[in-house]
Structure formats: structure tokens, C-alpha cells
């Protein structure tokens, strides 16, 4: 249901010359486990030096895609190329990519330096060069002094850096990262997001990053590929994904949003006017083929809902809770419940009659029949 060309629009890949070999290229790749199709007919082209994130809920096929690129799974169908070379007959240990695993997968019986130098040593790099490159990489990761310790003596964040150093010291064409921040606590995760961004900038290697955390994806990526049920829902820049989601699934998965139901009253080019019943009429952009009278779903970000004093029977505040810097209000209007984010001090007590005004060019309209 996704048109790959329009999916790429706005991404840094747009206009990449044909024939030029991408860092990683997947062509019609399908992977099944028995009856379950993990990845279906996937096409993906990752350019050199990009920070690309595969984003989606668990079971969407993102980790399988990463493992297919790494060579830990073989596709049932399709071609995978790295730097233009077909990888079909190359096992994991002969591919020019390295992986940072979810649980770090450090060697428990080796010291940190030995962990980082493991790949170089077995590639026959001289002892002095290995020591030098390991030292440089550990400085880059800002863990220069833990070389003699065992992995289990390090904190989660430090182990993470060791895993990164161990992979990057091999100077891979592409670094694969499988939810590497999943095991860290919130604060460390935020810190590591900036660290990863810095490291990506400094080494200039292509990063393919897998996560289910949309905030992580938004913070770090040049380009986000949203996946669901083994296929790509949208492939675009973070801003584009947020402002112009292609499907209701993407709108719902990225950031908070209200999905409300309505009927199209007018359609002009890519702009639909929708009757939302008690919530009134609203205009929004759409990429779906719609006609007057169609049932649709409309995505409205909570920050775009403005709450004003209103008359009885219009909309009623149900709940109002403080969420960090703002207040989230749950407001009932007819059959729909809408969440609005408002500044502290401008909220209403539960039970208050209010009027909802939606004012944004980020409103998106999706055909109701579309699965999500």
C-alpha cells in the first residue's frame, strides 16, 4: 500500500543517482519463520554516512531486517547488497559490517581491552597496531581507563561503550545497532543518544539503528523507516514523519495524537474538509484517494488542540493531569474523547464546559478503511 517513491520524498536519499552503489541495499527481501512472515518484499536503500533508524513495535520485522543485513539470518527471497556487493553467499563473519547487540554480548572471560581488540587480533593485525587502535577507540568512547577490567565490573553505560568500541574499531562500512540503549535507565539513555550522534558524526560510518522508541529515533536519525507487520509504512526524515505521517499507523505511533472519526464534506487536491460532528468542521492534508461522503480518520496532535471557555453540551473536561511541563486534559465531546496539551495555569477543572478549537497545518486525514 506504500508507494516507495513517494515514501522516499523528503528523505536525504531523494535524487540519489541510479547505479551509484549504496552502503546497503535490500531488494524484494522476504524472510519467513515457518508460517510467520517477519519481513515481506522489503526494498531499502541506505546511503553512505546516513544515520538510518528502523522504527516500529515489536514483531514489525525491524530486528529481522538488521539480522538479515548482518548475516545472522538468510532471506527466503531477495537480494542484499553491501557496498554494491551481493551478500547472498557470505556468512556473517565475512561481511563488512559490525553489530552492537542489544545485551552488548561482551566476552565475559576477556578484559575490556581484549574485548575491543578481539576482532583486530584475529584479523592478524600486529599487537602494537591493535593496542594503538584500541586505545584511540576507547578515548573516542570516553572510557580510556577501564581497559584492564572485566566487562561485568563495568556499569551498563560503560559496557555499551565497550560494545560500540569493539564494533567500530573494525572500521566497518556499516554499523548495525540493535536496540543498544534498551537496557539503560532513562537518564543514561538520553545521554547516550547524544553520544551516539556525536560518535556517528566523528567516525562518519553508516549507522543502521533499530528501536521501538520513537523519541530515540526522532533525536538521532537523519532518516526514519517506520515498519509494521514486515513492511515499510513510511520512509522519510524525522520532521516529515512527524508533520506528515502517511498512514494512521505512523501518526499514532509517532508522538501523541488523537485519532477522531468524521465524514469528508469537501476535497480539493490534497486537502480535505471533514465534518467531525460535535467537534465541528476541520481541514487537513491527505495522501489518500478520498471523495465527498467518505468516512475518514483524522489525526490531531494534542498540542494543536486549544481549549477555550464554552457553553453547555459542547465539550466537557473529564480529567486534567500534570505531565512534566504541561497539563494533559481529557475532554469528552459526543462519542469522541480528545486529549489536549495546554500550558500550566490555563487548564480547566474536570466538569467544566469548554470549546475546542483546532488550529494547525499538521492535521492529517486518512481513509477509514485502511488497516492500522
Amino acid at each position: 500500500m506504500i508507494n516507495p517513491e513517494s515514501g522516499l520524498a523528503g528523505a536525504p536519499t531523494a535524487g540519489a543517482p541510479e547505479g551509484h552503489s549504496a552502503a546497503v541495499e535490500l531488494e524484494n527481501v522476504t524472510k519467513r519463520y515457518g508460517e510467520v512472515t517477519a519481513v515481506e518484499d522489503l526494498d531499502l536503500r541506505v546511503e553512505d554516512g546516513q544515520f538510518l533508524t528502523l522504527l516500529g513495535p515489536s514483531g514489525c520485522g525491524k530486528t529481522t531486517t538488521l539480522r538479515l543485513i548482518g548475516g545472522f539470518e538468510a532471506p527466503n527471497r531477495g537480494i542484499i547488497r553491501i557496498g554494491g556487493d551481493d551478500m547472498s553467499s557470505r556468512p556473517a563473519y565475512k561481511r563488512p559490517v559490525n553489530t552492537v547487540f542489544q545485551q552488548y554480548a561482551l566476552f565475559p572471560h576477556l578484559s575490556v581491552s581484549q574485548n575491543v581488540g578481539y576482532g583486530l587480533k584475529h584479523a592478524g593485525v600486529s599487537r602494537s597496531e591493535t593496542a594503538e587502535r584500541v586505545g584511540e577507540m576507547m578515548s573516542l568512547m570516553q572510557i580510556p581507563d577501564v581497559g584492564d577490567r572485566r566487562p561485568r565490573e563495568l556499569s551498563g553505560g560503560q559496557q555499551q561503550r565497550v560494545a560500540l568500541a569493539r564494533a567500530l574499531v573494525m572500521e566497518p562500512k556499516v554499523l548495525l545497532l540493535d536496540e543498544p540503549l534498551g537496557a539503560l535507565d532513562y537518564k543514561l539513555r538520553k545521554e547516550m543518544q547524544f553520544e551516539l550522534k556525536r560518535i556517528h558524526r566523528e567516525v562518519g560510518v553508516t549507522f543502521i539503528y533499530v528501536t521501538h522508541d520513537q523519541e530515540e529515533a526522532m533525536t538521532m536519525s537523519d532518516r526514519i523507516v517506520v515498519m509494521s507487520h514486515g513492511h515499510i509504512e513510511q520512509d522519510a526524515s524525522p520532521a516529515e514523519i512527524f508533520d506528515r505521517p502517511l498512514t494512521a499507523f505512523v501518526a499514532d505511533f509517532i508522538g501523541d495524537t488523537n485519532i477522531v472519526h468524521g465524514t469528508v464534506t469537501r476535497i480539493e487536491g490534497g486537502h480535505a474538509t471533514v465534518d467531525l460532528g460535535p467537534l465541528g468542521e476541520i481541514g487537513g492534508s491527505t495522501d489518500d484517494q478520498l471523495a465527498s461522503g467518505d468516512r475518514v480518520r483524522v489525526s490531531i496532535r494534542p498540542t494543536d488542540v486549544h481549549v477555550e471557555p464554552g457553553g453547555a453540551g459542547e465539550a466537557v473536561v473529564q480529567d486534567s493531569v500534570l505531565v512534566g511541563g504541561h497539563i494533559a486534559m481529557k475532554i469528552a465531546s459526543g462519542d469522541e474523547t480528545v486529549v489536549a496539551h495546554v500550558a500550566r495555569g490555563s487548564s480547566y477543572e474536570p466538569g467544566a464546559n469548554v470549546h475546542l478549537r483546532v488550529d494547525s497545518d499538521r492535521i492529517r486525514v486518512f481513509a477509514a478503511a485502511e488497516g492500522a
Binding site: G70, F72, P91, A92, Y93, K94, V97, N98, T99, F101, Q103, A105, L106, F107, P108, H109, Y118, G119, H122, A123, R166, A167, M170
Partner: protein
């Protein structure tokens, strides 16, 4: 804070447990204690009252060349059996853990059969087998029989470890460009090393005190258990046997400590 305090045991339950523990230990170790005591007193037969302390039974045991050759035979058989059991058991464990093949479930069950088969049956089977092949019975046939019977012991111990070993470092090693064979040597093997050592120790002790299989497969030589058994039947050197038994028990206890230390290293 101790465990019993945390779950608020009544004090009587705690005392009951202590009494139980004392009785259990007495039940298990009293016969051994009796042997140890009679090995250091000058009584000719195991009857009270105890006479004066002496080291003469140990002197006699250590200067008895038959004892020494039996110990030597037992050690050689046990070492040979461990080598056979480990060489066949470790690859077997890897096979069961890593690969799926037709009949794997049946293989898994049948490979454990020697563990529950009575030693007499195994012994008779080996005797018939060697007879059929016209192999003269000797320490070599004992070693082969022990080794084969102990493959299951090594296989189960190492397999149990493999089930708990984190597989991701192996993938990391492959990911870093290291071939599967070298990955096995440098990552997999270190992770099961203690299990291999522990199962080897266990196989050693099991072979060292084995009688049923030995009886059916041994030639003119004597292993230590066979020597003790035949000496007991003639009833001649009872106090000396007490000394030998005490030494064997103490050596066994040392192996148990080593075994426990190896297992602890694993669980860290």
C-alpha cells in the same frame, strides 16, 4: 538479616531444622567416621573399647605393593575413562545443543540410558561384546567399558551448561570476522571449560570406585575397589583397609571441594 528472620520462622522450626541437619549428617557420615577412627587405633578388629592411637595401619597400607599397584591401575583406568568420556561427551553435548537432526529426541533419551542402567547389565554386555570380538580382558577393556558408560555423565553435565550459556558472544565473535571454528575455540570453549573440568572430575571418581562393570571386564590385574573387596572377603587385613578407605574418602572430599569451586565460578 538472616533468611529465617526474614520469613519469620518460629524459633522452634529453626531448632527442628538444626536437629534434622545433624541427624542427616550423622546418618551419612557415621559409618565413615567409624572407619576413620578404627584406622588410627591399634584394635585388630572393629570392636570397642578403643585401644591406643597408632599409625601402623597406614604404614602397612603404604608399604603394601599390592595396594600400590591397585591404586596405580585404578588411576590409569580412571584417567583413560575420563579421556574417552570427554572426547565423546563434549562433541555429543554440542551436537544435541546446536543442531537439529532426525531422531534427535530419541538420541537424547538413549544417550542417557547408561546413567540408569544397572552396572551389572552394562558389565555383562561388555563382557559378551569383548568375548565376541575375542579381545582378551585386561585393564584396557575396563577402561573402554568405563569410558563408554561415562560418556552420558559428561554429555549431560556439559549440555546442562550449554543450555545456560549466553549465545550472543558467539554471534559477536562471528560478527567481528572470526571464523566459526576459531569462535568455538576462543568463545564457546572458555564458556564451558569449567563444566568440562567438573564432569571430568565426576567421571574420574565414578570410575575410581566402580565394581560391577569392572568385575566383568577385568583380566589378571586389580583395581583398588576390587582389591579392597577381595581383601575383605578373606577378612585378613581389615584395619589396613580402614586406612586405605580413609585416604580415599579424604581424596574424594578434596575433589568435591574442587567440584564445588568450579561450579561456583560458573554461577558468578
Amino acid at each position: 538479616m538472616s533468611f529465617s528472620e526474614r520469613i519469620h520462622h518460629p524459633a522452634t522450626t529453626g531448632r527442628g531444622l538444626k536437629v534434622y541437619a545433624v541427624f542427616l549428617f550423622a546418618f551419612l557420615y557415621l559409618p565413615l567416621a567409624v572407619i576413620a577412627v578404627f584406622s588410627v587405633v591399634s584394635n585388630d578388629i572393629a570392636s570397642l573399647p578403643l585401644q591406643s592411637l597408632t599409625g601402623k595401619w597406614y604404614d602397612e597400607a603404604f608399604s603394601n605393593s599390592e595396594v600400590w599397584s591397585a591404586v596405580k591401575a585404578s588411576v590409569m583406568v580412571a584417567i583413560g575413562a575420563v579421556i574417552i568420556a570427554v572426547t565423546l561427551g563434549v562433541p555429543g553435548a554440542l551436537l544435541v545443543d546446536r543442531y537439529s537432526f532426525p531422531g534427535k529426541v530419541v538420541f537424547q533419551k538413549f544417550v542417557l540410558l547408561p546413567l540408569i542402567l544397572p552396572g551389572v547389565i552394562t558389565g555383562v554386555a561388555f563382557q559378551t561384546f569383548f568375548q565376541m570380538l575375542l579381545v582378551p580382558r585386561s585393564l584396557l577393556t575396563v577402561t573402554l567399558a568405563h569410558g563408554t558408560a561415562l560418556v552420558s555423565t559428561v554429555l549431560t553435565t556439559v549440555y546442562a551448561r550449554l543450555l545456560r550459556v549466553d549465545r550472543s558472544p558467539e554471534q559477536a565473535s562471528l560478527d567481528l570476522g572470526v571464523s566459526p571454528f576459531r569462535t568455538f575455540l576462543h568463545v564457546t570453549l572458555p564458556s564451558i571449560r569449567t563444566a568440562i573440568l567438573a564432569s571430568g572430575l565426576l567421571a574420574f571418581t565414578l570410575s575410581f570406585d566402580e565394581i560391577p562393570v569392572t568385575i566383568f571386564t577385568i583380566g589378571p590385574d586389580n583395581t583398588l575397589p576390587m582389591y579392597i573387596w577381595s581383601a575383605l572377603r578373606t577378612g585378613a587385613q581389615l584395619p589396613e583397609l580402614n586406612a586405605i578407605a580413609t585416604v580415599v574418602v579424604l581424596s574424594g572430599a578434596m575433589l568435591v571441594v574442587v567440584f564445588a569451586l568450579l561450579s561456583r565460578e560458573d554461577s558468578r
